[in-house]
């Protein structure tokens, strides 16, 4: 039996796609079962790092942003030989590079995602806006207009407003979107003017969001028609299909984010841990290969509108049915990576993320100057690691 913990087992779209891969793998391997089980996203990173570090890992290691923490334990098996032998590398999109550490491919990316602007058409119209915003200034104005027009119990903007790893991704989307990065040219750029401007906008909007909510919370409110607009991952479309009542769902629309840059998020990737037997490693590799087949790669496009890792996995029928897929794929091809190009940043991501989360909470809950909070953050981050 292969253990396969994942934070996505119960997520609409992701869950179905992963289950299809598990079923196909099991049907090809008589007597081998895959025990896929859910772990909440908050606990997932801690659990897996603990298991990897203690030398007692589960068999199939899935990861999103957790990847860097996992790689940091030094307990992920390099896949270079296996990838070369199978010829998969030639078939793969460039974002696979985000999973290479010191020349070692430590995971195979399944797909990449991006962020979209979600909005409730009705509320926008009521605020006198006939189209979603297309620039940061328009975004700020739109939220202000919404704040004046939405009724009691509806919030103009939705964002994560509790101590949660989402705070990193959501603030980074503003920073990268407006041309900044946490590290530029080998220096921390937390206090650079463009970062401060982006974080300030992020802060002003998030302060309009209902307090105390995590990602699941504000998606639910968007689906219920209690939030007018938010920025969220493109996979949320399938979540909305599931949670939104029939009278609200048709009013919810998605648009490209109103920024000059879009962010590419490397979605799920799969790794083999070093601490299991050779025989198990081979089985896990076969599992990864099943997941890499065009049929299953195409499923990511179908179920969560992702850009698959394998080039050309989207069939022409799929594109005909959902023209957005082509847009998502093109967007991601030209998008900026979420993480700065720094090995130290990735190696210390756990601690860095914690400091960024705390700083964002401070911005959301106090009146401290944005620049001052970011200056504190920069000095904390500098003491964690060199850029």
């Amino acid at each position: 039996m292969l253990d396969f913990p994942t934070w996505q087992a119960n997520e609409p779209g992701h869950g179905e796609a992963l289950r299809a891969i598990v079923e196909e793998f099991e049907s090809r391997h008589e007597g081998v079962t895959v025990n896929m089980y859910p772990v909440s996203n908050e606990d997932f990173q801690n659990q897996i790092v603990t298991q990897l570090s203690a030398g007692d890992p589960p068999d199939i290691i899935a990861s999103g942003n957790h990847f860097y923490a996992f790689a940091g334990t030094g307990q992920l098996e390099p896949l270079n030989d296996r990838l070369e032998e199978s010829g998969l590398l030639d078939e793969w999109e460039d974002f696979q590079q985000e999973r290479v550490v010191d020349g070692d491919h430590l995971a195979l990316t399944m797909h990449a995602l991006t962020r979209l602007l979600y909005y409730n058409e009705e509320y926008l119209a009521a605020a006198g806006l006939d189209a979603p915003p297309t620039s940061p200034t328009e975004l700020a104005d739109a939220v202000e207009a919404l704040a004046g027009s939405v009724g009691e119990g509806v919030s103009p903007w939705g964002a994560t407003t509790t101590t949660h790893s989402n705070l990193f991704g959501e603030s980074t989307a503003f920073i990268v979107g407006m041309g900044g990065q946490w590290i530029t040219d080998g220096e921390w750029s937390v206090t650079a003017p463009e970062t401060v401007e982006a974080v300030d906008l992020y802060r002003r909007l998030a302060q309009q969001a209902p307090p105390g909510l995590d990602g699941g919370g504000y998606r639910q409110l968007l689906g219920d028609g209690r939030i007018a607009m938010s920025q969220d991952g493109n996979w949320v479309i399938s979540t909305l299909d599931e949670v939104s009542p029939a009278d609200v769902r048709p009013k919810l629309k998605a648009a490209p984010p109103p920024f000059e840059n879009t962010v590419a998020l490397v979605g799920t990737s799969l790794s083999i841990p070093e601490g299991i037997s050779e025989e198990r490693k081979d089985l896990v590799w076969e599992f990864i290969q099943v997941a890499a087949e065009p049929e299953f790669q195409g499923m990511w496009a179908g179920s969560i509108d992702a850009a698959p890792g394998r080039t050309g996995s989207i069939t022409s029928e799929q594109v005909q049915e959902r023209p957005e897929l082509e847009v998502v794929a093109q967007t991601i091809a030209s998008a900026q990576p979420e993480f700065p190009d720094s090995a130290n940043f990735r190696a210390n991501f756990g601690e860095i993320e914690q400091h960024i989360i705390d700083a964002m909470m401070r911005l959301l809950t106090t009146d401290d100057e944005t620049a001052a909070v970011l200056a504190d953050l920069e000095s904390q981050l500098s003491s964690v690691t060199e850029p």
């Binding site: 007692d56 119990g153 995590d214």
Partner: protein, 274 residues
Amino acid sequence: MTRGMIIRYGLIVAIIVVLLFPVYWMALTAVLPTRELLSPSPPLIPDLSSISFDSFQRVFELRPVGRWMTNSAVVTAGTVVCSVVLATMAGYSLSRLASKIGLVVGYSLFAVRLIPTTLLVIPLFMMFSEVELNNTLRSLVIANTVVIVPFAAWLMKSFFDSIPVELEEAAMVDGCSRLRSFLTIVLPLARPGIGAVAIFSGILAWGDFTFARTLIQGDAGTTVTVGLVSFVGEYTADWGALMAAGLLSIAPMVVLFILLEPLLISGLTSGAVK
């Protein structure tokens, strides 16, 4: 009934209503449709016709609550057995031995209380992974027993103290060995104390969060406390199912407590009620 008594009853009822409100609200959330509760003014007293037990059904589909409960039950049972046996032995020894060394050792057991569990768990984690006990329910039984026994032993000691030594001496004069008189005379008399120790350690083991959170990583060994807390982030919107799970997981201990409370109280205060 005097006026004073009516006032007293009124006050008691009022304070019980306030103190037990969290349990009431859990129950209400579990049986009312989420739609009614997700409102700025939720009904404090429910409309009986809208009560349904769907949440209890749903929670079993969402998460393996049955397995969590089984795991908690196994850990609790194991801890209770180990704690009772060890504490009875040690308690008798501390009560009758009464030598300086014994007491010093006994008091030093209390040092455990000074150590934050989150700290103790660091070396335990390393030790258990060294002998491949991590991710087993056995590791939880050991860890829980370790922190429970010092208290349980002192509880038993005070209980044995209340049993007159003359009884044993009489038996020993009659030719009984020490061990025999312990088994046949003292032990039966100590039954209420043993019962109290059993419930006490049961409550602590069932409620353990720190050990279960750190020593168990996979899903196979998840206990109710850890399972429920992990549930919070994931299904924030489904409070009905979450509270149904919470209610199920407090039910065994609350029911036991209600039934056996007099025994527990008399056992815990045994040092006093001689």
